[in-house]
Point group: C2
Chain length 306, copies 2
């Protein structure tokens, strides 16, 4: 199971009752966070989720509303007595920016390992999370992220029997292990497993003009969380100038990509009631107007939610 | 008149419903802020006070809970279209730390002027504020601040008449101006003004063990705001180790300094209900257990509030 919480939905600056946009995902005891603006650690505490199990922090880009909460978050993780390393992922320059901010958090009880993205599309894996970073189009280098949990195929006992694979090796093969016998015989998981089944995936994308990469990366995902900076259509010039996305533009991407569910986030501070644009937007695609703290549990297709 | 708001009362880390310790003061259209941890700009917006008129920001020290909100605050002040310079005051190393944090706020529409404190006691003046910075005793270099608004003496018409000072110069002298006539005669304000009257003063002090300088600087002030990190007396070893102040130690300073009013702030996250120690503390001094957003209007002694 993958469960997630959209800790905040604000863009540009934190407001009373609206935290900055940030997403936390949890799977198999490993947590990851995308973006960490000022106040994200408080939003997390408000939700009751611990910062300690955060293994990965991804940054879309280095504008303050997406990263200035980093030093406080790292200190709070340290106060929770974490000692395992944390992986931080972001565009080129990540180490320079993070080190600048960490001038007030120089000593931590865990190691910080930086991964600077260099390709337009780049895949990284940590624990259960397969992360596809894809470059989008903002005023500074900015990435969107698709986070996937893979699911193996079904174990095919008939195929294993046909190939005379001894039953004592089945369990190891089923869990992805290759078995090499003393006599040189090798059994690999693909000999006994059916085709990989649909896993789970979530795409998070903010601070960008529309680009084909977003549609591609949001295709068929379980949840697509996308910037909806402005609802009023006459703000288009403003959106173009500052390289942000209009709600209707995001909805058009949703209509093309057909995710199972789609949420807006990263509302402009001027949009105090984003859902007043619902009628306009739903003519294009039934996007949900997410609010701070929205959660979702995702389970594999034929798996019960407990 | 001087009015102030204790924007937050938390120490160490921001919590849901408890912002980090920070004080905002306003006088004659000029605002100043002492400390700016993560979330301070939200606390200010919650209070409905604009960040735009902030002319001065003082930092006690460079631990994250006192300074990590700086880049977001500066960006919000910039978004409010301020163009006048801002003075930032703090211990040695201020420019290095502020520049580190400003890696996410490099471009601002106003100038930032740094003032690094070098003496154990140092006085600076900006607009109506006379600021006495005094070194305290924390794990890193840390200062407390006494902020004063001066009040001139009363104009003494009898003395002016005795000295045959022409009436047409009285107004200028009364407003502190020296008048030099063509024939070389000089009239100075002290020729016509009585002794300076009691002004207004507020002392703010946090993150320190007790020191004589604090008692000295809190003497007779209108309001003394002081760290009350722990209430339980068995936390003394912890307080000593991390150079923080116990509530009873702060109360003892209050009893000696005799401020007109005293508030606790900078509570440990472990002190969820600081006022449970009231009976213990009031045996020493009637300190008020301040909470986020407490305000106070201070007026000159014989002046009506409005």
């Amino acid at each position: 199971m993958l469960d997630l919480c959209l800790l905040g939905t604000g863009g540009m600056m934190p407001l009373p009752n609206r935290w900055l946009t940030s997403l936390m995902l949890r799977c198999s005891g490993s947590n990851m966070l995308i973006d960490c603006g000022e106040g994200t650690q408080i939003a997390m505490k408000e939700k009751g989720w611990s910062p300690k199990p955060i293994d990965i922090i991804c940054f879309t880009h280095f504008h303050a509303d997406h990263i200035s909460g980093l030093p406080g978050m790292l200190l709070s993780i340290g106060n929770a007595e974490r000692t395992e390393p944390i992986h931080i992922i972001g565009p080129k320059g990540l180490r320079r920016v993070a080190d600048g901010l960490r001038i007030v958090a120089p000593e931590l009880p865990f190691e910080v390992i930086y991964h600077e993205l260099e390709e337009p599309v780049q895949q990284l894996s940590f624990g259960p999370f397969v992360i596809d970073a894809f470059k989008v189009n903002h005023k500074v280098t900015c990435y969107g992220y698709r986070v996937s949990i893979r699911r193996l195929g079904k174990f095919d006992a008939a195929r294993a029997q046909e190939q005379n694979i001894p039953i004592r090796y089945w369990n190891r093969l089923q869990h992805g292990e290759t078995v090499t016998l003393d006599d040189g015989v090798i059994y690999t998981p693909d000999m006994v497993m059916g085709e990989a089944r649909r896993g789970l995936s979530v795409t998070y994308c903010t601070d960008t003009r529309p680009t084909p990469a977003i549609t591609e990366m949001a295709k068929d995902v379980d949840l697509f969380i996308c910037e909806g900076m402005y609802g009023e259509r006459d703000k288009l010039d403003n959106a173009k100038k500052n390289r942000h996305m209009m709600m209707y533009e995001a909805a058009e991407i949703g209509a093309a990509a057909k995710p199972r569910e789609m949420w807006f986030t990263h509302y402009s501070p001027s949009e105090m009631r984003p859902d007043i644009y619902k009628d306009d937007i739903w003519k294009i695609h039934p996007v949900k107007f997410a609010r701070d703290g929205w959660t979702k549990d995702l389970t594999f297709d034929d798996e019960d939610k407990d």
